[in-house]
Amino acid sequence: MSLDVDVRHTLGGFHLDARFTAQPGLTTLFGRSGAGKSSLVNIVAGLIKPRSGKVIVDGQPLVDVEHGVFVPRHRRRVGYVFQDSRLFPHFSVRQNLLYGRWFAKGTGGASGDFASVVSLLGIAALLDRRPDSLSGGEKQRVAIGRALLAKPRLLLMDEPLASLDEARRAEIMPYIERLRDEAGVPILYVSHSLSEVARLATTVVILSDGKVAAVGPVTETLPLADSDDGGSVLEAVVSRHDETYRLSILTSRAGELQVPLLPAPVGATVRAYIRARDVMLSLQPPQEISALNVLSGTIADISARGAQADVRLDCNGAIVLSRVTNKSVERLALAVGRPVHAVVKSVSFERS
């Protein structure tokens, strides 16, 4: 499956001019609020008609303004999971789930099996309940199931976790991961949360002021994101566990990482998310410090962010982002091409 988007649209004083191609897997549309993420998803879903441009799924145009093509929303077979779950209040959970499937009868396509979707999302116990008796997390899982059972060719998720607290988010994330890996439906996922993107994304599309700022694999694009909470992602493999100190030792392209024991088997692939503000820079190999993880690399780029600067390091081909003050940049005479050592204070993990 492929999704090609190339649209221009104006909403009030806001101009959207976006062009990208989504690969199979989970593609996140990432950006600050007001960057045009939701408008873009609504254009793909058919809720907004763009001023010009086209949206093409598997070679079939959903919108092609120049050729007068506009497929109405109910014929697009594009599943949509809204931020507010939008379950039908007068139907039971089971009826909600079956709503779209009824219209999708005889269309074929992936993930139409009721029992497997219900077990994938863990909602078997909720089937006879009414939407108003569900928790926020349960509602979102039902909404995901409802969209899946309509046998979509493409699943859109517009900040499906934004209205939930941290615990509920943690409850749903594994289901979205399973969806990405097992359901076989490509997903376009809107988010402004870096940790969500770091954990879930196969491909990242970074939107800024209605324009696509960058597209690519999460490890390459995330360090480019314009965010106060920026950081970088390292793909790593669990090479062994150290039971004495309760540590896991990981190998990544950038070097070895020692982290508190992970509940993952040896050989498992994990994504290490390193926040830029948790990375210190040193010109000498630091000795006698408490931090366990020191990566070496060369400076690839320095971009100013007010009183601070984001320093992008190339560590053997992997990108690590560090946020330091402008004063430090000057004092250490940091410049592109200079070799440095990155002291990583903490690493958070996202199973992948």
Binding site: R86, H90, Y99, F103
Partner: protein, 228 residues
Amino acid sequence: MTEEEWTAVRLSLLVAVTATAASLPLGIAVAWLLARGRFWGKSLLDTVVHLPLIMPPVVTGYLLLILFGRRGPIGEFLDQAFGIVLSFRWTGAALACAVMGFPLMVRAIRLSIEAVDERLESAAGTLGANPLWVFATITLPLCLPGVIAGAVLCFAKSMGEFGATITFVSNIPGETQTLPSAIYTLTQVPGGDAGALRLTAISIAISMVALLFSELLARRIGVRRVAT
């Protein structure tokens, strides 16, 4: 109760039920257009629908007589094409009641359609439901309490309609003499007080039963349809 009084009660019920049932589909359609439609002339349609509410009933009745009378443009056509005659028939009384009750019905239904969350409708659309299915499975069930309220208002208005009815179809016992006309007639003859009072009591009873029935129905539906 005399036979004539019973006839008036039966006729009024028949006229009111017919007027309500016949205008309900159109009422829902117009209410939907006014609530969700975006088209040229929407405020004109709104005004036309509300006209019977603000015009004197006698004027409405007279206009109906001009349009639907045997020599009227619509009445003549209906008579010649389908053999339908409305003037001075009970069906004409039903038409007059439907016209007078229509604005009340449309108002109630329109408000309840406007209260239905449009985001639910667009969600249904993305799940594959075409606009007609969206209306039938989402909008209509969710605005049902308003539909019931509108129907009851129209029924109650029909039971009490006097001015337009008597102007359009006159006051013929057994054919067009509804409850209000019968009460009016009784008050015009010496010794009719007792009969007028009996019919008044029946009129009050019917109105109260209709109101109670609608409350009960709306509550039963409301319990099942609490919004999230």
